[in-house]
Symmetry: C2
Protein backbone atom coordinates (compact mmCIF):
# COMPACT_ATOMS: atom_id res chain seq x y z
CA UNK A 1 0.00 0.00 0.00
CA UNK A 2 2.89 2.36 0.78
CA UNK A 3 4.47 1.68 -2.62
CA UNK A 4 1.13 1.83 -4.42
CA UNK A 5 -0.47 4.84 -2.74
CA UNK A 6 2.22 6.62 -0.70
CA UNK A 7 3.80 9.82 -1.98
CA UNK A 8 7.28 11.06 -1.13
CA UNK A 9 7.35 14.82 -0.65
CA UNK A 10 10.34 17.12 -0.14
CA UNK A 11 11.61 17.24 3.45
CA UNK A 12 11.41 13.48 4.00
CA UNK A 13 7.62 13.58 4.22
CA UNK A 14 5.78 10.34 3.41
CA UNK A 15 2.19 11.15 2.51
CA UNK A 16 -0.11 8.22 3.24
CA UNK A 17 -3.28 10.15 3.93
CA UNK A 18 -5.23 8.26 1.27
CA UNK A 19 -5.32 5.08 3.37
CA UNK A 20 -3.71 5.57 6.79
CA UNK A 21 -4.25 8.85 8.59
CA UNK A 22 -6.92 11.01 6.96
CA UNK A 23 -8.87 8.66 4.75
CA UNK A 24 -8.58 5.26 6.42
CA UNK A 25 -8.69 1.85 4.71
CA UNK A 26 -10.08 -0.11 7.63
CA UNK A 27 -9.87 -3.46 5.83
CA UNK A 28 -6.09 -2.88 5.75
CA UNK A 29 -6.28 -2.07 9.48
CA UNK A 30 -7.92 -5.51 10.00
CA UNK A 31 -4.91 -7.17 8.35
CA UNK A 32 -2.60 -5.09 10.53
CA UNK A 33 -4.56 -6.28 13.57
CA UNK A 34 -4.14 -9.92 12.56
CA UNK A 35 -0.39 -9.46 12.11
CA UNK A 36 0.05 -7.65 15.44
CA UNK A 37 -2.03 -10.32 17.16
CA UNK A 38 0.27 -12.97 15.70
CA UNK A 39 3.27 -11.10 17.13
CA UNK A 40 1.85 -10.27 20.58
CA UNK A 41 -0.78 -12.94 21.26
CA UNK A 42 1.18 -14.65 24.08
CA UNK A 43 1.73 -11.45 26.03
CA UNK A 44 -1.54 -11.35 27.98
CA UNK A 45 -2.42 -7.89 26.70
CA UNK A 46 -5.30 -6.25 28.60
CA UNK A 47 -5.44 -2.85 26.93
CA UNK A 48 -4.40 -1.02 23.79
CA UNK A 49 -3.19 2.55 24.17
CA UNK A 50 -2.89 5.12 21.40
CA UNK A 51 -2.81 8.90 21.02
CA UNK A 52 -5.22 11.23 19.28
CA UNK A 53 -6.01 11.71 16.52
CA UNK A 54 -4.54 9.59 13.76
CA UNK A 55 -3.70 6.57 15.93
CA UNK A 56 -7.30 6.06 17.04
CA UNK A 57 -8.72 4.41 13.93
CA UNK A 58 -5.91 1.89 13.66
CA UNK A 59 -5.96 1.10 17.39
CA UNK A 60 -9.74 0.64 17.40
CA UNK A 61 -9.70 -1.89 14.57
CA UNK A 62 -6.56 -3.64 15.87
CA UNK A 63 -8.21 -4.05 19.28
CA UNK A 64 -10.85 -6.28 17.70
CA UNK A 65 -8.15 -8.90 17.07
CA UNK A 66 -7.16 -8.81 20.74
CA UNK A 67 -10.65 -8.49 22.26
CA UNK A 68 -9.54 -5.77 24.68
CA UNK A 69 -10.55 -2.11 25.09
CA UNK A 70 -8.67 0.81 23.57
CA UNK A 71 -7.65 3.91 25.47
CA UNK A 72 -6.51 7.06 23.69
CA UNK A 73 -4.32 9.71 25.25
CA UNK A 74 -5.58 13.25 24.74
CA UNK A 75 -3.31 16.09 23.71
CA UNK A 76 -3.43 19.42 25.46
CA UNK A 77 -1.44 22.56 25.21
CA UNK A 78 0.62 22.68 28.40
CA UNK A 79 -1.48 24.03 31.28
CA UNK A 80 -2.64 22.91 34.68
CA UNK A 81 -5.04 20.04 34.43
CA UNK A 82 -8.01 19.41 36.67
CA UNK A 83 -8.95 15.88 37.61
CA UNK A 84 -7.27 12.58 38.05
CA UNK A 85 -5.07 12.01 35.04
CA UNK A 86 -1.76 10.43 34.32
CA UNK A 87 0.09 13.03 32.27
CA UNK A 88 3.39 13.35 30.50
CA UNK A 89 5.00 15.80 28.12
CA UNK A 90 5.77 15.34 24.43
CA UNK A 91 7.99 17.60 22.37
CA UNK A 92 6.57 18.08 18.92
CA UNK A 93 9.10 17.95 16.12
CA UNK A 94 6.57 18.80 13.40
CA UNK A 95 4.59 21.53 15.15
CA UNK A 96 7.20 22.82 17.62
CA UNK A 97 6.67 23.31 21.33
CA UNK A 98 5.69 20.92 24.08
CA UNK A 99 2.25 19.52 24.76
CA UNK A 100 0.76 17.46 27.57
CA UNK A 101 -0.78 14.08 26.96
CA UNK A 102 -3.16 12.59 29.46
CA UNK A 103 -5.28 9.57 30.27
CA UNK A 104 -7.77 9.18 33.09
CA UNK A 105 -6.49 7.28 36.12
CA UNK A 106 -9.74 5.28 35.99
CA UNK A 107 -8.56 3.34 32.95
CA UNK A 108 -4.96 2.30 33.64
CA UNK A 109 -3.88 0.30 36.65
CA UNK A 110 -0.92 -1.78 37.80
CA UNK A 111 -2.69 -4.92 36.55
CA UNK A 112 -2.69 -3.73 32.94
CA UNK A 113 -0.42 -5.13 30.24
CA UNK A 114 -0.45 -2.50 27.52
CA UNK A 115 0.23 -2.61 23.80
CA UNK A 116 0.84 0.84 22.35
CA UNK A 117 -0.41 1.28 18.77
CA UNK A 118 0.27 4.25 16.51
CA UNK A 119 0.36 5.15 12.83
CA UNK A 120 3.89 6.59 12.69
CA UNK A 121 7.13 6.27 14.63
CA UNK A 122 9.75 8.87 13.71
CA UNK A 123 11.88 10.39 16.48
CA UNK A 124 9.88 8.45 19.05
CA UNK A 125 8.84 11.38 21.25
CA UNK A 126 5.16 10.49 21.32
CA UNK A 127 5.95 6.85 22.09
CA UNK A 128 8.28 7.82 24.94
CA UNK A 129 5.50 10.01 26.37
CA UNK A 130 3.02 7.13 26.18
CA UNK A 131 5.50 4.73 27.83
CA UNK A 132 6.00 7.24 30.67
CA UNK A 133 2.23 7.39 31.18
CA UNK A 134 1.95 3.63 31.42
CA UNK A 135 4.89 3.45 33.82
CA UNK A 136 3.31 6.14 36.01
CA UNK A 137 0.24 3.92 36.30
CA UNK A 138 2.45 1.03 37.41
CA UNK A 139 1.28 -0.94 34.37
CA UNK A 140 3.50 -2.91 32.01
CA UNK A 141 4.33 -1.82 28.46
CA UNK A 142 4.36 -5.08 26.53
CA UNK A 143 5.51 -3.34 23.38
CA UNK A 144 4.54 -1.06 20.53
CA UNK A 145 2.83 -1.96 17.26
CA UNK A 146 3.49 0.69 14.62
CA UNK A 147 2.15 0.98 11.08
CA UNK A 148 5.10 2.87 9.56
CA UNK A 149 8.47 3.52 11.17
CA UNK A 150 10.81 6.08 9.65
CA UNK A 151 13.96 4.10 10.29
CA UNK A 152 16.27 6.96 9.32
CA UNK A 153 14.98 9.12 12.19
CA UNK A 154 16.24 6.61 14.73
CA UNK A 155 13.44 6.76 17.30
CA UNK A 156 12.57 3.07 16.97
CA UNK A 157 16.14 1.84 17.37
CA UNK A 158 16.67 4.08 20.41
CA UNK A 159 13.66 2.44 22.06
CA UNK A 160 14.78 -1.06 21.10
CA UNK A 161 18.14 -0.31 22.76
CA UNK A 162 16.17 0.58 25.92
CA UNK A 163 14.64 -2.91 25.76
CA UNK A 164 11.22 -1.89 24.46
CA UNK A 165 9.75 -4.36 21.99
CA UNK A 166 8.92 -2.25 18.93
CA UNK A 167 7.24 -4.08 16.05
CA UNK A 168 6.79 -1.91 12.98
CA UNK A 169 4.81 -3.37 10.11
CA UNK A 170 6.90 -1.33 7.66
CA UNK A 171 10.23 0.39 8.24
CA UNK A 172 11.19 3.00 5.68
CA UNK A 173 14.97 3.23 5.54
CA UNK A 174 15.33 5.84 2.84
CA UNK A 175 13.18 7.95 0.53
CA UNK A 176 13.96 10.09 -2.48
CA UNK A 177 11.54 12.91 -3.23
CA UNK A 178 13.04 13.41 -6.71
CA UNK A 179 12.49 9.86 -7.97
CA UNK A 180 9.74 8.97 -5.51
CA UNK A 181 11.71 5.86 -4.56
CA UNK A 182 11.07 4.26 -1.16
CA UNK A 183 13.52 1.74 0.29
CA UNK A 184 12.43 -0.49 3.17
CA UNK A 185 14.69 -1.95 5.86
Amino acid sequence: MILKKGKVLPGNVLKVDSFLNHQMDTSLFCEMGKELYKLFKDEGITKILTIEASGIGIAAVVSLSFGVPVLFAKKHKSKNLVGDFYTSKVESFTHGGVYDILVSKDFLSKDDRVLIVDDFLANGNALVGLIDLVNDAGAVVVGAGIAIEKGYQGGGDKLRERGIRVESLAIVEKMDSESGEIIFR
Copy 2:
Protein backbone atom coordinates in the same frame (compact mmCIF):
# COMPACT_ATOMS: atom_id res chain seq x y z
CA MET B 1 -24.26 0.36 28.59
CA ILE B 2 -25.37 3.94 29.22
CA LEU B 3 -27.48 2.84 32.19
CA LYS B 4 -24.81 0.47 33.46
CA LYS B 5 -21.69 2.59 33.01
CA GLY B 6 -22.78 6.17 32.23
CA LYS B 7 -22.63 8.83 34.92
CA VAL B 8 -24.80 11.92 35.10
CA LEU B 9 -22.84 14.97 36.25
CA PRO B 10 -24.13 18.45 37.13
CA GLY B 11 -24.68 20.71 34.09
CA ASN B 12 -26.40 18.02 32.01
CA VAL B 13 -23.14 16.21 31.38
CA LEU B 14 -23.36 12.50 30.53
CA LYS B 15 -20.01 10.87 31.22
CA VAL B 16 -19.51 7.80 29.08
CA ASP B 17 -15.72 7.88 28.87
CA SER B 18 -15.37 4.36 30.24
CA PHE B 19 -16.70 2.82 27.02
CA LEU B 20 -17.40 5.44 24.34
CA ASN B 21 -15.01 8.37 24.02
CA HIS B 22 -11.83 7.90 26.04
CA GLN B 23 -11.67 4.22 26.81
CA MET B 24 -13.49 2.53 23.94
CA ASP B 25 -15.36 -0.78 24.04
CA THR B 26 -14.83 -1.75 20.42
CA SER B 27 -16.97 -4.90 20.66
CA LEU B 28 -19.88 -2.54 21.44
CA PHE B 29 -18.85 -0.49 18.39
CA CYS B 30 -19.17 -3.66 16.29
CA GLU B 31 -22.77 -4.04 17.47
CA MET B 32 -23.40 -0.38 16.65
CA GLY B 33 -21.97 -1.03 13.18
CA LYS B 34 -24.34 -3.95 12.61
CA GLU B 35 -27.33 -1.85 13.67
CA LEU B 36 -26.34 1.12 11.49
CA TYR B 37 -25.76 -1.23 8.57
CA LYS B 38 -29.27 -2.63 9.06
CA LEU B 39 -30.66 0.92 8.93
CA PHE B 40 -28.60 2.24 5.99
CA LYS B 41 -27.67 -0.83 3.93
CA ASP B 42 -29.86 0.07 0.94
CA GLU B 43 -28.44 3.58 0.58
CA GLY B 44 -25.37 2.76 -1.53
CA ILE B 45 -22.99 4.36 0.96
CA THR B 46 -19.47 4.88 -0.44
CA LYS B 47 -17.80 6.65 2.47
CA ILE B 48 -18.12 7.25 6.19
CA LEU B 49 -17.25 10.70 7.49
CA THR B 50 -16.53 11.63 11.09
CA ILE B 51 -14.69 14.34 13.01
CA GLU B 52 -11.65 14.09 15.26
CA ALA B 53 -11.08 12.90 17.82
CA SER B 54 -13.76 10.93 19.63
CA GLY B 55 -15.75 10.00 16.53
CA ILE B 56 -12.85 8.22 14.86
CA GLY B 57 -12.87 4.95 16.80
CA ILE B 58 -16.59 4.41 16.33
CA ALA B 59 -16.51 5.36 12.64
CA ALA B 60 -13.53 3.06 11.98
CA VAL B 61 -15.23 0.01 13.47
CA VAL B 62 -18.63 0.88 11.96
CA SER B 63 -17.02 1.13 8.51
CA LEU B 64 -16.14 -2.56 8.68
CA SER B 65 -19.85 -3.39 8.49
CA PHE B 66 -20.19 -1.27 5.35
CA GLY B 67 -16.89 -2.22 3.68
CA VAL B 68 -16.12 1.40 2.77
CA PRO B 69 -13.31 3.80 3.81
CA VAL B 70 -13.59 6.32 6.62
CA LEU B 71 -12.61 9.96 6.33
CA PHE B 72 -12.17 12.14 9.39
CA ALA B 73 -12.45 15.92 9.37
CA LYS B 74 -9.61 17.68 11.14
CA LYS B 75 -10.18 20.56 13.53
CA HIS B 76 -8.12 23.71 13.33
CA LYS B 77 -8.21 26.98 15.12
CA SER B 78 -9.50 29.46 12.57
CA LYS B 79 -6.67 30.55 10.29
CA ASN B 80 -5.83 30.56 6.61
CA LEU B 81 -5.32 27.08 5.33
CA VAL B 82 -2.87 26.04 2.68
CA GLY B 83 -3.80 23.30 0.22
CA ASP B 84 -6.87 21.88 -1.33
CA PHE B 85 -9.40 21.35 1.41
CA TYR B 86 -13.11 21.58 1.81
CA THR B 87 -13.59 23.61 4.97
CA SER B 88 -16.43 24.82 7.12
CA LYS B 89 -16.81 26.49 10.48
CA VAL B 90 -18.16 25.02 13.70
CA GLU B 91 -19.13 26.99 16.78
CA SER B 92 -18.08 25.14 19.90
CA PHE B 93 -20.63 25.19 22.70
CA THR B 94 -18.38 23.35 25.16
CA HIS B 95 -15.08 25.09 24.49
CA GLY B 96 -16.28 28.45 23.16
CA GLY B 97 -15.13 30.08 19.95
CA VAL B 98 -15.23 28.97 16.36
CA TYR B 99 -12.97 26.43 14.71
CA ASP B 100 -12.43 25.28 11.15
CA ILE B 101 -12.97 21.72 10.08
CA LEU B 102 -11.41 20.42 6.91
CA VAL B 103 -11.10 17.41 4.66
CA SER B 104 -8.83 17.01 1.66
CA LYS B 105 -10.52 17.51 -1.71
CA ASP B 106 -8.83 14.28 -2.84
CA PHE B 107 -11.20 12.17 -0.77
CA LEU B 108 -14.69 13.55 -1.37
CA SER B 109 -16.30 13.86 -4.78
CA LYS B 110 -19.72 14.31 -6.32
CA ASP B 111 -20.02 10.54 -6.71
CA ASP B 112 -19.85 9.91 -2.97
CA ARG B 113 -22.82 8.93 -0.85
CA VAL B 114 -21.77 9.75 2.69
CA LEU B 115 -22.87 8.45 6.09
CA ILE B 116 -21.77 10.76 8.92
CA VAL B 117 -20.93 8.95 12.16
CA ASP B 118 -20.25 10.56 15.52
CA ASP B 119 -20.30 9.75 19.23
CA PHE B 120 -22.56 12.59 20.38
CA LEU B 121 -25.23 14.83 18.91
CA ALA B 122 -26.21 17.75 21.13
CA ASN B 123 -26.89 21.15 19.56
CA GLY B 124 -25.88 19.74 16.17
CA ASN B 125 -23.21 22.32 15.29
CA ALA B 126 -20.54 19.76 14.39
CA LEU B 127 -23.00 17.78 12.29
CA VAL B 128 -24.13 20.90 10.41
CA GLY B 129 -20.46 21.68 9.70
CA LEU B 130 -19.88 18.18 8.35
CA ILE B 131 -23.02 18.36 6.18
CA ASP B 132 -21.79 21.68 4.73
CA LEU B 133 -18.45 20.05 3.85
CA VAL B 134 -20.14 17.19 2.03
CA ASN B 135 -22.43 19.58 0.17
CA ASP B 136 -19.42 21.68 -0.88
CA ALA B 137 -17.94 18.55 -2.45
CA GLY B 138 -21.17 18.00 -4.38
CA ALA B 139 -21.57 14.67 -2.61
CA VAL B 140 -24.78 13.36 -1.02
CA VAL B 141 -25.35 13.12 2.73
CA VAL B 142 -27.30 9.90 3.11
CA GLY B 143 -27.77 10.48 6.82
CA ALA B 144 -26.11 10.48 10.21
CA GLY B 145 -25.54 7.57 12.58
CA ILE B 146 -25.04 8.78 16.13
CA ALA B 147 -24.21 6.83 19.28
CA ILE B 148 -25.90 9.15 21.80
CA GLU B 149 -28.21 12.05 21.04
CA LYS B 150 -29.04 14.54 23.76
CA GLY B 151 -32.67 14.95 22.74
CA TYR B 152 -33.26 17.88 25.10
CA GLN B 153 -30.69 20.02 23.26
CA GLY B 154 -32.75 19.87 20.07
CA GLY B 155 -29.98 19.59 17.47
CA GLY B 156 -31.20 16.26 16.14
CA ASP B 157 -34.80 17.34 15.71
CA LYS B 158 -33.74 20.57 13.98
CA LEU B 159 -31.82 18.46 11.44
CA ARG B 160 -34.71 16.01 10.99
CA GLU B 161 -36.94 19.01 10.22
CA ARG B 162 -34.45 19.98 7.49
CA GLY B 163 -34.97 16.51 5.98
CA ILE B 164 -31.71 14.96 7.15
CA ARG B 165 -32.06 11.32 8.17
CA VAL B 166 -30.63 11.20 11.70
CA GLU B 167 -30.51 7.76 13.32
CA SER B 168 -29.38 7.87 16.93
CA LEU B 169 -28.83 4.54 18.66
CA ALA B 170 -29.84 6.14 21.97
CA ILE B 171 -31.69 9.39 22.58
CA VAL B 172 -31.47 10.78 26.11
CA GLU B 173 -34.54 12.86 26.79
CA LYS B 174 -33.82 13.87 30.36
CA MET B 175 -31.18 13.36 33.03
CA ASP B 176 -31.12 14.10 36.75
CA SER B 177 -27.69 14.63 38.30
CA GLU B 178 -29.15 14.35 41.83
CA SER B 179 -30.66 10.89 41.41
CA GLY B 180 -28.50 9.81 38.49
CA GLU B 181 -31.66 8.91 36.59
CA ILE B 182 -31.54 8.80 32.77
CA ILE B 183 -34.75 8.79 30.72
CA PHE B 184 -34.61 7.77 27.06
CA ARG B 185 -36.96 8.97 24.33
